[in-house]
């Protein structure tokens, strides 16, 4: 999952960023509206966590822009799947205004990381997915405990491997290209090269064991599904 954190306070932003990375999320940090737009031009984020009081503009305005159809936008930003407003403004009217501007959720500062992580999990869960671990055949992916097991045997995965497996599990049955994996499981700061996707995938496949659950669709990408 790729997350954009827009928070004007550098120090608060830094610790929240670390907390989100600890959740094996690929996170980028912007401190201004301008920086956020720059990042949104090139990357399609799964979730944008948006502070409202920004030095060069109003977060609410940015939120509306993120929800505007592409053909009506002045500056063509990619539309993230979800927007979570993160702010100290706690009036009911503010919350209503935030949600009506297109936000999917609203979290009032001071935040607890545990709650922010849970809300991000909730926002990334599709309506047809269970609240507990995601199960594919004998493979089980626990997005809360950051653990996976196959046939009852716990898998020893690194953070990145888990992030990739979770992305597959949340999009069970979908064909995912290596570019998409790179965009959603690696953040702007990590030294990502196209080869790293293949490296991580081959390691992940090895750890998942046989029969294979990650299938290669030639020329298109990869798909997580029941062993064939």
């Amino acid at each position: 999952m790729r997350v954009l954190l827009v928070e004007d306070d550098a120090q608060l932003g830094e610790v929240v960023l670390l907390g989100l990375r600890q959740e094996h999320l690929a996170v980028d940090h912007a401190t201004t509206v301008a920086e956020a737009i720059e990042l949104l031009l090139v990357t399609k984020y799964d979730i944008v966590c948006l502070d409202l009081g920004l030095p060069d503009g109003d977060g609410l305005q940015l939120c509306r822009q993120l929800r505007t159809p592409a053909d009506e936008q002045d500056v063509l930003v990619t539309r993230p799947d979800r927007v979570l407003i993160l702010t100290a403004r706690d009036d009911v009217a503010d919350r209503v205004a935030g949600l009506d501007a297109g936000a999917d959720d609203y979290l009032i500062k001071p935040i607890k990381m545990a709650e922010l992580a849970a809300r991000i999990r909730a926002l990334s869960r599709r309506s047809d997915q269970p609240a507990g671990p995601l199960v594919i055949g004998d493979l089980s992916v626990d997005v809360v405990a950051h653990a996976a097991s196959r046939g009852g045997r716990a898998l020893d995965l690194t953070g990145r491997e888990f992030a990739v497996l979770r992305y597959f599990a949340l999009r069970m049955g979908e064909v995912i290209s290596s570019e998409e994996l790179l965009e959603h499981c690696w953040d702007a700061n990590t030294d990502a090269f196209s080869g790293s996707v293949r490296v991580i995938l081959s390691r992940l496949r090895k750890k998942l064991g046989d029969p294979a659950v990650i299938h290669t669709i030639k020329g298109v990408g990869y798909r997580l599904g029941e062993p064939q």
């Binding site: 306070d9 001071p110 990381m113």
Partner: protein, 351 residues
């Protein structure tokens, strides 16, 4: 024991003496004249008849006198009431203010000169109190924001290290270093607030201080925290001025920090101490201040384009500068010379 004197009653007494008493005196004189005529008539030998007539006239006079007194009393009482009514208005406003709102004004119009002056100076005082109270309120709001953000960051930092699966010693070290930076920020905000509060309660404590020594302390402090931005200091070996040392030091720390924040990496911040016109200036070679923001930078809670820094920093600098003299901002430094110079001029002579 007598109770407190009522102004209205005193006016009534004065009015009575001034208006009713002369009329009564007139009546008495008239009455006396008539009775003396009656005595002269009595000499003719028909004294009984005349005497009877003469006793009838004073009775009407007495009746008239009583009537005049009564009407006079009422008129004077009403008049005295009108005279003290503005006082009642002032009292009413004062009582309302006890109930908590400083927005009320007497707004007296058309009172006597003395009462008008009283009401006007009362309004003036209310205005000043209201302004002070608003500033204080603003300070509390700013302070709570300034304190809350680093505190929230500390809480999150603590939460993430505690929830990390198997933290390594390096993780703990990094976490502690982040804590240290956040604690320093909290400390700085609290220092600012204390200087601010102190300055509010009494104007600067201006005693003999060596400005050069203060600068040296600030530079040492800066080097420990932010060695990436060097500082060049120019000026005399010492300069003793009648200034409030701790406040000036605090202001200087804020100015240097501000300059360092906007300086390109490695480009020094310059501090110039001038003895002839006792002053100190802090110069950076950053992007400078947009002309429409030159006044706003001193507002509490104003944050620069990078969004960093405590919003009360430069507001405090201005407050300290004005308590000790004045402040001037130059930005850009000249044509094609970007950068910003803050100069504090000290009005007190050399110590």
């Amino acid at each position: 024991m007598r109770g407190p004197k009522s102004l209205r009653r005193q006016l009534l007494l004065l009015g009575f003496i001034a208006v009713v008493l002369p009329v009564l005196t007139l009546f008495v004189i008239v009455a006396a004249t008539i009775s003396s005529e009656e005595i002269s008539v009595a000499d003719d030998g028909r004294e009984m008849v005349v005497a009877q007539e003469s006793t009838a006239i004073p009775r009407e006079i007495i009746l008239g006198a009583v009537l005049v007194s009564a009407v006079g009393c009422v008129v004077v009482w009403v008049w005295a009431g009108r005279a003290v009514r503005p006082m009642a208005k002032i009292t009413a406003v004062a009582n309302e203010i006890q109930a908590g709102s400083l927005d009320r004004r007497i707004d007296l119009d058309g009172g006597t000169v003395e009462v008008q002056a009283l009401a006007d100076s009362f309004d003036g005082m209310l205005h000043r109190l209201s302004h002070a109270s608003t500033t204080q309120q603003q300070l509390i709001e700013d302070a709570s924001h300034e304190l809350r953000t680093p505190l929230a960051a500390l809480a999150v930092n603590n939460e993430i290290i505690l929830s990390k699966a198997d933290p390594s010693p390096e993780d703990y070290l990094e976490s502690a270093q982040r804590n240290e930076a956040l604690i320093a920020r909290l400390q700085m905000t609290i220092d600012d607030l204390l200087v601010d509060a102190r300055d509010r309660s009494r104007r600067a404590q201006q005693v003999d201080n060596d400005l050069v020594e203060i600068v040296a302390r600030v530079v040492d402090q800066h080097r420990a925290v932010n060695p990436a931005i060097p500082i060049i200091v120019r000026g005399p070996k010492e300069l003793h001025l009648g200034i409030d040392g701790p406040s000036v030091q605090r202001a200087l720390v804020n100015l240097v920090e501000n300059a360092a924040r906007y300086s390109p990496p490695g480009v020094p911040v310059e501090i110039d101490v001038v003895a002839d016109v006792p002053s100190i200036s802090v110069t950076d070679h950053g992007p400078g201040i947009a002309s429409d923001q030159r006044e706003a930078i001193f507002d509490r809670y104003f944050q620069g384009p990078d969004g960093g820094g405590a919003g009360i920093g430069l507001a405090l600098v201005k407050q300290v500068a004005e308590a000790n003299g004045s402040i001037e901002v130059t930005s850009p430094l000249g044509p094609d010379r970007p950068g910003t110079r803050f100069t504090i001029f000290f009005s007190s002579g050399q110590g």
